[in-house]
Subunit: 259 residues, 4 copies
């Protein structure tokens, strides 16, 4: 009648803590890096050296992007709730949604679903053409392509693809992502290079990370970056100045004594 509750992630007794089958004190602490434990958590086993290089490259790419809306929100939040660093990180992460974290998920989903439905020997250019025309029909931008700042080439993309190739993770998902870029550029008549989220989505798919948690790569990495922003905010605060400027300007059209 009732479902049995069950989780395979960890257990502990008075003298042991075991994470994903590995004794935390004996096998992980001091022996395995943070990025590799993240791989262990998601995949249920430790990475090979090649997997470690590739997975860490993806995560490192997502840690820090400067003064993003997430970072500003975290800084405004620690200003109002200095007792709760966790609340400020949470506020920042809440902005890692469809616009910022979502594109990694979107690209991974696009590739994983297309290759799941395609026959094992499907010609990938045909698959790419289908993908592009489906997006075009829905009048949506193709996942993983283009960037408002890095217009010609996203400097992260060739690096990520090179690392994936050097380590044996440049398979059909990566190939399909590149073909989608080619077909979209042709179809829209302007360069639509693979951006960092497209590269990450493709390579995460090579690592067989399900698309439903690919947004989580951005979330876990950005949690690190947000702690750094909060540290800087505590040392040299910007929130009060941002608040003051935004409040003054935004109400100046209705506040007496201002123009």
């Amino acid at each position: 009648m009732t479902k049995r509750l069950r989780s395979d992630l960890a257990w502990s007794t008075a003298d042991r803590i075991v994470v994903r089958g590995h004794d935390l004190a004996e096998e992980l602490i001091g022996k395995v890096s943070l990025g590799d434990v993240a791989f262990l958590e998601l995949k249920g086993r430790l990475p090979t050296a090649q997997e470690s290089t590739v997975f860490n490259a993806l995560a490192v790419t997502l840690v820090e992007h400067g003064m993003t809306p997430s970072a500003i929100a975290a800084r405004l939040t620690i200003f109002g709730a200095p007792e709760s660093l966790q609340g400020a990180v949470a506020a920042g992460l809440l902005g890692m949604g469809d616009r910022f974290g979502g594109p990694v998920e979107g690209a991974a989903r696009m590739l994983q679903e297309a290759l799941l439905q395609a026959k094992p020997d499907a010609e990938l250019r045909a698959v790419a053409k289908q993908i592009v025309s489906a997006y075009k029909e829905r009048k949506e931008p193709v996942a993983g392509l283009g960037h408002p700042v890095h217009k010609d080439v996203d400097p992260r993309t060739p690096k990520l693809f090179a690392i994936a190739a050097e380590n044996g993770f440049s398979g059909r998902h990566v190939e399909l992502m590149k073909l989608v870029s080619e077909e979209a550029s042709r179809s829209y008549g302007r360069p639509l290079p693979v951006n960092a989220t497209g590269a990450i989505g493709a390579i995460a798919s090579e690592l067989e990370i399900p698309w439903r948690v690919c947004r989580g790569l951005a979330v876990m990495a950005r949690a690190i970056g947000l702690v750094a922003h909060i540290q800087e905010e505590l040392e040299d605060p910007l929130a009060a100045e941002i608040w003051s400027r935004v409040e003054d300007e935004s109400s100046s059209h209705i506040r007496p004594g201002t123009d």
Copy 2:
């Protein structure tokens, strides 16, 4: 009149992204691990090999503790808001407060403030005695000591202290933490061993991480663990069962047709 806004964490142009002075594509991606980038973010420079080992050990310890209140909250949240993985991680992190993330901060603060106020050549046992009697007077448990499950020894503590010592980070903060444990055990007449949060707080202090962001070590590491819990929840959901049981039992004394 207005303060100039300024952040040193990152900047980007059309063809470059620079994080803490390092070109992201050229110097970090594929070359530096996630844990080392976390160190870079907090400290403004990449770690030495020794620092890397020690810092990663701290972070790894904090990733996963099984089915904690945070993990359960994250699972209940993704059940209600499956569109927002970032919201489920945020909900889980919000529980990393005074009870779970706070002790790392508490231990680091206790040690950093005591050594800041003490003379450089202060006898550490005397400092430890002062600390313990101050806590006793305030009727508060001493930060970083004791554990409800790991009563005799927290298996993480000796490992963490050993790694710190092997890598040259067993200085006065670590020494003071151990002496606080000795003095508290004597004063309270029962074993009060250093727990994992005490060890982490002490070693983070050796790495000169300010106590105000030490809770952030737990927050950033646990973000990883929470993504793994959400992944497991999506594959094999527990939230509906937990909800059903808790709702049924908690209202059974007032709901007609139940006893």
Copy 3:
């Protein structure tokens, strides 16, 4: 080049605070109820007596649903972060997503988009048929219909529709919602009555609240309920017991000494 920041919600000077054009101290405090200020905030003007009755009815319906996943998450969060009541409320609200808050939005969107596209004199039964067949084609459940517990009739629905009718807000959105229920019941061959979220989505549409913020009605109302859950949790805590049970059971298959 830059956009002028502008908000019409409120302004203040040394001796006045003005919310939506009303002097807070002189015109609102002590004169207008919380629900009516919520209406003012969303609509930019105070409600008529009829609008007040209808709007408050919608909000009241959404305040409290017992021990929901949101309420349990809020309780687990205050256990871990007792310093941050706002964090516990936030954690609870984060579960008011597609499954719990979303249906109000979904129903309102369905009705508002259909009536926006339909001609002013469109026959509503035909519109309802189109809606149902579109959902059926997408293999999605029709928004605002059916309930796992209140199978025959959701006790909130007839009440909400009666109040709307008595106060002059039983217009075309409400009519269309009822016809969608009739057509869906016929098409699926089983009773699919309008549930509370369907009724609220329809009546909110009569009040001309945009569907994009209709989820916000659930969010603002539930914030009240969550504060009450946190108050009860602080007086008579359940979180530790829930944690203990879930942790024990979920790891019993891998923890030594358990079966």
Copy 4:
């Protein structure tokens, strides 16, 4: 061995939902306003007319304060995660901590603890003197006094106190709050009038709302205001402009091509 889970807030069966002992459909929807249901949730009974006026006045005061850090954070969050209105409200609420929501709690705690410890016939001016000297000794600002903008008098305070008095809720907590203001002004040699949070903390104490949930009054009321800010942001977005300005200025000292 295990604790029985128990909550008195609500229960439901197939045909009834009962909130705090009141049938939701029959007794609350359409009959009771949102503010009165909030009172019911917190107090376990519906308010008298006098209590309703006073409680709604407190809540109304806290709904909207213009472009606060919370409101800006909520707007930045909906920009990044447009799929999750609940996440944007949550992000905004997370800033209602020690600086913004906390003062209501602080004032209520100060008054409730002082009157709990004082004898029933204690002379309140003496209690006020003790309170002020205790804050002075700890070098902390006295809770509930002074305001950076409303320096001479907070326009909300006399209104709130008048409403409390007219409705029979101007008892010892309110009297003590006023005496604390007098004693603090004398002791610090400058006017320290009761601000809105001091008045609300005092009057909430008259309503016997425990200080531990007084911050929750601000949280529940502000949830309403944040939905209004998100609605305005969706209609007329400011987030991208704030992001752009803050990012440009804050990195201009290190970004090539800027001064």
